[in-house]
């Protein structure tokens, strides 16, 4: 086993240990305060408004490959879809999930089916759709969903490139709220300009914690915070050591 392998496995196990410790502390009733992210507050209100007004919520989980690193942000999108589906499937117009990858389309259908079964609502196989197999065709298909199906709010959480701007623009023109987050750097720049509530960097991955998806989400968010400070300290120490000639 190489040094890099040992360090990598050690990092993963340390991260896992932190999550377990924080999850244990969370179960013992220790209050955790998260910094306010206005996007998620607005999302909660948008969910309530959509149910009252009989509008549909559109959740788009991007076109990331499920076998690649983009799968992680798509899984966050599925977690948020799960939360939204449990709250809104019972309404007149249940939410619709769009994606640009076949695996994500099947997973989104599974999430919608589970949510409908849990609350005793009717499940429609059209609630999770593949709208296109290339990024722009996926965006074009998602745009028609936003425009034609009385969407009250669009939530884009997944791996998006610059094509997400087209989906947000249609959402804006339809008068609905647009909330978007991605792991892709050019995508984040575009979402900052086009979405009403953009999520930058790791705010996207905090969605589960802010939407009460479970104590493990809050625990993993705290573990991320700790590790981020640890990495910052290591970078600063390394820079100082290099500056003073120790490295």
């Amino acid at each position: 086993m190489t040094l890099l392998g040992v360090l990598g496995l050690g990092f993963v196990l340390f991260f896992l240990g932190l999550i377990l410790i924080f999850a244990f502390l969370g179960r013992r009733g220790r209050e955790v305060s998260l910094r306010p992210i206005p996007a998620f507050d607005r999302l909660q209100k948008a969910i309530g408004r959509a149910v009252e007004a009989g509008n549909r919520l559109h959740v788009s989980i991007g076109s990331g490959d499920i076998t690649g690193p983009q799968a992680a942000v798509a899984l966050v999108g599925l977690t948020i879809l799960n939360r939204i589906a449990r709250d809104t499937t019972i309404s007149d117009r249940p939410p619709v999930a769009t994606s640009g990858d076949g695996s994500l389309a099947i997973l989104s259908q599974d999430v919608m089916r589970s949510a409908a079964r849990e609350i005793g609502a009717e499940y429609s196989p059209f609630s999770g759709r593949l709208t296109g197999v290339t990024p722009f065709s996926y965006a074009a298909g998602a745009m028609t969903v936003v425009q034609d199906e009385e969407v009250g709010a669009s939530i884009l959480i997944g791996s998006f490139g610059v094509e997400a701007a087209l989906i947000n623009e249609i959402g804006e023109r339809s008068g609905g709220m647009t909330l978007a987050g991605t792991d892709n750097l050019p995508g984040q720049a575009v979402l900052y300009a086009t979405a009403q509530e953009p999520l930058i960097g790791e705010e996207t991955f905090a969605g589960g914690a802010y939407l009460d998806a479970g104590p493990t989400h809050t625990a993993s968010l705290r573990a991320q915070d700790w590790l981020r400070w640890l990495i910052i300290a290591s970078l600063l120490l390394g820079a100082l050591a290099k500056f003073f000639g120790f490295l």
Partner: protein, 204 residues
């Protein structure tokens, strides 16, 4: 498949693949490669299932008889024609390449052109929607980079190119690395939650 059974399979296979990256034991590495190959094959099958779903959604829309059903009809027709032609003649045949070069590429190019206008309009709207320091910096940076890369009327403003290079090499790279660090931590956290069974996107 019952939820606990699918969770056990998913978690155990996930741990095998994770260990296969860090622990260089022959059988473990081979098993990792086999499992990843299976995942790629399943993703391909999922694509076919997704396309069938796409066809079915739009086929249903064509029977509704409203304005939008015309576009769905065009999609269904195009899908069937492309499937028949490319399936019969192969993806490198003249007909298949003609569809790609004279239909798909122009359509996607026009969407990209629309994107340019959309972004310009969105940038102007940003000033109205969110007037703060960060929005101002965002727009100023965009203008500097645009003017330095593609000067208006060919007039080059002295020093703008150096400013663009400095922005790209120092603050932009620093910010990008910071964001990527946070994203990497988020990715690892998400993966660990799936391996712990706390997140189950695979059913139940």
């Amino acid at each position: 498949m019952r939820a606990p059974f699918s969770a056990v399979i998913a978690i155990s296979l996930g741990i095998i693949v994770l260990l296969g990256y860090f622990v260089p034991i022959g059988p473990l590495t081979s098993l990792r490669i086999v499992l990843l190959d299976w995942a790629v094959i399943l993703a391909g099958v999922a694509l076919i299932v997704g396309v069938v779903n796409l066809f079915y959604v739009h086929w249903k829309k064509t029977s509704e008889g409203n304005t939008e059903s015309l576009y769905s009809g065009v999609l269904v027709f195009a899908l069937l024609i492309t499937l028949v032609l490319v399936g019969w003649f192969g993806p490198t045949h003249t007909f298949s390449l003609w569809i790609f070069n004279y239909i798909q590429v122009p359509v996607e190019s026009s969407l990209m052109a629309m994107l340019a206008i959309t972004l310009a309009y969105a940038s102007a709207r940003l000033l109205r929607r969110r007037i703060d320091l960060l929005s101002g910096v965002f727009l100023a940076t965009t203008l500097v980079v645009l003017l330095a890369t593609a000067p208006l009327f060919g007039i080059e403003i002295p020093g703008l190119g150096e400013l663009r290079d400095w922005i790209a090499q120092v603050p932009a790279t620093a910010g990008a690395r910071g964001i990527l660090l946070g994203v990497a931590l988020g990715v690892v956290a998400t993966g660990l939650r799936v391996l712990m069974g706390a997140d189950r996107p695979y059913g139940g």
